[in-house]
Symmetry: C2
Subunit: 131 residues, 2 copies
DNA sequence: CATGTGTACTAGTTATCATAGTACACACAG
DNA sequence: CTGTGTGTACTATGATAACTAGTACACATG
């Protein structure tokens, strides 16, 4: 299965589902048109409530990652339209600043941080090839 | 003031204080030995409860960012010893992966993402010089 | 009609965050 | 010693979010 959930994590379960699906799409595990499990199926598989899955699906639909068709099921959306691009860009920059601050408190050089990012990016690329 | 707090934000107020202090230290606005406002002073200034400030201070002490001396006050710690380096490194990497995925859903090229990070790093360096 | 979809609703539990008020232990200047 | 300023501890209360459980409804399809 391309989805794992940790009920003891601090991050909400529905959000873990959202991120899991987004990651699977980004990796190419899920492609446009692919059918997702029904809310009840996925809930059974992850041993969580079907309402929690439904909440995740609604969030994913809001993000234009999936398309929901009542009575038929949910599918990966054709084109991931970036709706609120500016807003997400600001958040991305903000996150990067947090990395810099965090790295500083880990006594990590800024150059080392940049190198780390390159490494993570490379590892992600490799992991993508293996699927 | 080097600290701002948004009570309507989704991120907890005490955590905003924690991040604010860490950022100020990283920028050099606060230096080792500097005295922080008392919990009641800062609470008054930010119009929040003094218990909330106390919670933030306790978290900062746990992170070895500040030193607390009962009856005297709180001070920026001498050397920011990275205690749980491995754990924080894993979290940092995890955060980077999340944003790689996010960038993909924004239809942003990986090279563009790397370039953006270089830009943010440069901007942060400039902002630091001005203080 | 029967089945499988997503959706909507109520109810209840648990946990976190924040406030408010009070009290205590310690350091230090007077 | 006393008064004041520290951080800390405690109880109580309210607000909100996340999750579970159960039930019911509307729609698509065979």
């Amino acid at each position: 299965m391309w989805l794992h959930v940790d009920p003891r994590s601090a991050v909400p379960v529905y959000q873990q589902v959202v991120e899991g699906v987004k990651a699977a799409v980004a990796r190419g595990v899920l492609k446009p048109g692919d059918k997702l499990p029904s809310v009840r199926e996925l809930a059974m598989e992850l041993t969580i409530n079907h309402n929690t899955v439904a909440k995740a699906y609604q969030e994913l639909e809001r993000l234009h990652v999936i398309e929901v068709i009542r009575g038929r099921g949910t599918f990966i959306a054709a084109e991931p339209v970036p709706a609120d691009r500016d807003h997400r860009m600001r958040e991305l920059k903000h996150a990067m600043v947090r990395w810099i601050v965090e790295a500083h408190h880990m006594q990590m050089d800024e150059e080392a941080l940049l190198e780390l990012f390159r490494t993570v990016l490379q590892e992600w690329r490799n992991g993508r090839e293996h699927e």
